[in-house]
């Protein structure tokens, strides 16, 4: 894990994955009516984050 953290691609992927989790949790737990934008952005960030981490692990 520590070795992976030394790779910038993994760090960026992890960052966007964590942010996406916050956005999606905010949608699921919140009462905010403007959830569509958070859902779409959160999903987009999650895909981007996982993709960055996946590309890194394939190297």
């Amino acid at each position: 894990m520590y070795k992976k953290l030394n790779d910038l691609q993994f760090v960026i992927g992890l960052f966007f994955s964590v942010v996406s989790v916050i956005l999606l949790l905010n949608v699921m737990l919140g009462t905010n009516v403007a959830t569509k934008l958070n859902t779409l952005t959160g999903s987009g960030f999650l895909v981007f984050g996982l993709l960055m981490m996946f590309i890194r692990s394939r190297k």
Binding site: L8, V11, F15, V19, L23, T41, F48
Partner: protein, 553 residues
């Protein structure tokens, strides 16, 4: 604008990650070169994104959105005229000298090519400029947070400066560069949803064109007469002032950006860095110019029902600098609001860290090691580099407080920076491509160029600025004045350098190998695929840039 738990969590996660990057890089820092030059070990994709991100500070993000709202699509000239050509030129022609000479900084190249006094002049002016720019960036961040979030000014200053200090102190240039890449993705991905939803709200590009005055949506069509376009510029002063003098002066000689290419792993990557960076740079107007155009469209009578307005100043005029923050506040709900605010904070921190890491390299190598303490151990210079990082941040904080007390200091400093930067490209152009150029010629050319810039500003007046000698000539816009000042300073530097060089003794050819075009072996890329070679890549980019200019003519 009010943040909630999810927004604060996102900001907190960002702070943890940027500091975490500093701690991860810390273990790799063993020498002054690791700390100040990354030991030329950074992969191409990182150097390219850091190259563009070092320029993606708050002034760029917030300022370009403001210009988009005020001047319309003409703002794209800062990209499609004022950046891409110079970036390609840097990659194809200038990087072989910067990288091939093994210089650790731009002033050090000047020392190898010319002499110590030219290096000293450039190093001192650059060090002063970067550390003050960093302070202005810090002031702007704190001021913005105070205005839109009602955060305490002092806390904003100390927290953001403290975070930048931690990660640059721990990991040096590598840490700053890694964070710049993270910040690049955050700014682009964090602001993209805003562009999409606001563009949808404005009815798409066709509706924008239908609702705005034609001069707001044509980049070139109304530039035949300075009175016909919102910038008040004639196309010739734009091409010479921005497209040549200011653009090449910034992208090809400013160590802050050139440093990102100088830390690449090899010559090929160093040359490709600005060229690869030009690809996202070309598309950047979608993120930083289009929102400004959308904002002004949303204020047209047909779209008033959307409920968006650019805030006004106390005197009732539109406060264009608040365009981006007000759009974020209008469109982003809790959650993604935190992403938008974090993107703004990232742009400020990116600008500040870039300045601080360029400052500590130039101070340590070009001032301290060259003029004060020579021949000490590498550990000594590593400690000095770390110490001066802290000092640089503290001076930035002091500058931020000075800027708070004296509003005009921002304008004054930007003006002085313009005087120093304007003529610089003439020195490099002659130095790299005319072997007869001498150290005396370069030095006096720089002095004459800077003096000419100051005199031109003192003799011209635009929007109430300048004319401090006498109001000899009136220029319609401040931007036009800046281009004319830069143009005059460049011409004075160019001819003074030539005249003084012809009267003084040049260096022998032996000492100029690897530093001057005619005496340097050209890099060969015949064995590589065409898309890896810098010349075909550069030509493709230039063709696309010209096409974009035609499309939005």
């Amino acid at each position: 604008m009010r943040l909630e738990l999810a927004d604060y969590l996102i900001i907190l996660v960002y702070f943890i990650f940027v500091i975490g990057v500093g701690f991860l890089i810390k273990k790799k820092i063993k020498s002054s070169n690791d700390f100040l030059t990354s030991s030329r070990s950074i992969p191409l994709w990182i150097t390219s994104l850091a190259f563009i991100s070092a320029n993606l500070g708050a002034q760029e993000v917030i300022g370009m959105v403001a210009s988009g709202a005020k001047y319309g699509i003409m703002t794209v000239h800062f990209y499609w005229v004022g950046a891409i050509f110079a970036m390609v030129f840097l990659g194809v022609f200038m990087m072989p000298f910067y990288y091939g000479s093994r210089a650790r900084s731009v002033p050090e190249y000047l020392s190898l090519r010319f002499d110590e006094k030219t290096r000293g002049l450039n190093a001192i002016s650059f060090a002063v400029m970067t550390v003050f720019s960093s302070g202005i960036s810090l002031y702007a961040l704190a001021k913005l947070m105070e205005t839109i979030l009602h955060w305490d000014f002092d806390i904003s200053i100390w927290v953001s400066a403290g975070i930048v200090m931690v990660y640059t102190f721990l990991g040096g240039l590598t840490s700053a560069v890694y964070n710049e890449v993270l910040q690049f993705f955050l700014i682009v991905l964090g602001l993209s949803p805003l562009v999409i939803i606001s563009l949808h709200d404005a009815g798409g590009w066709d509706n924008i064109k239908a609702l705005l005055q034609p001069e707001m949506t044509h980049a070139w069509k109304y530039m035949g007469n300075a009175n016909d376009n919102p910038m008040g510029l004639h196309f010739m002063s734009l091409i010479f002032g921005l497209g040549f003098v200011m653009s090449f002066g910034y992208w090809c000689t400013d160590f802050l950006v050139v440093q990102r290419a100088m830390i690449a792993r090899n010559m090929g990557d160093a040359q490709r860095t600005p060229i690869i960076a030009a690809i996202p740079k070309m598309a950047m107007p979608l993120i930083v110019v289009l929102p400004g155009l959308i904002a002004i469209t949303l204020m047209q009578p047909a779209l008033l029902s959307k409920g968006y307005r650019i805030p006004t100043t106390a005197s009732g005029e539109l406060d264009y600098t608040m365009t981006l923050p007000s759009m974020i506040a209008h469109y982003y709900p809790t959650g993604i609001l935190g992403v938008g605010i974090t993107a703004l904070i990232a742009s400020f921190m990116s600008g500040m860290a870039g300045n601080v890491t360029a400052f500590n390299s130039v101070f340590t190598f070009d001032i301290y090691q060259s003029y004060f303490v020579k021949n000490k151990s590498d550990r000594h210079y590593l400690l000095v580099g770390k110490g001066i990082t802290v000092v640089g941040i503290l001076i930035s904080i002091a500058t931020a407080y000075i800027a708070k007390s004296f509003n005009n200091i921002n304008d004054f400093l930007q003006l002085v920076f313009g005087f120093v930067n304007g003529p610089l490209f003439a020195t490099f152009l002659l130095g790299m491509f005319w072997k007869r150029t001498t150290g005396h010629g370069a030095f006096w050319g720089l002095v004459a160029g800077t003096a000419a810039a100051a005199a031109t500003h003192g003799l011209t007046v635009a929007e109430g600025k300048g004319g401090w000698i006498t109001e000899f000539y009136t220029i319609k816009s401040g931007m036009g004045q800046a281009f004319i000042v830069a143009g005059v300073s460049w011409i004075f530097n160019f001819f003074t350098t030539i005249i003084v060089s012809l009267c003084t003794k040049p260096k022998p050819d032996e000492e100029l190998k690897g530093l001057v075009y005619s005496l340097t072996e050209k890099p060969k890329f015949h064995e590589q695929k065409w898309y890896l070679r810098v010349v075909p890549l550069g030509l493709v980019l230039l063709a696309i840039t010209i096409l974009l200019n035609i499309l939005f003519f």
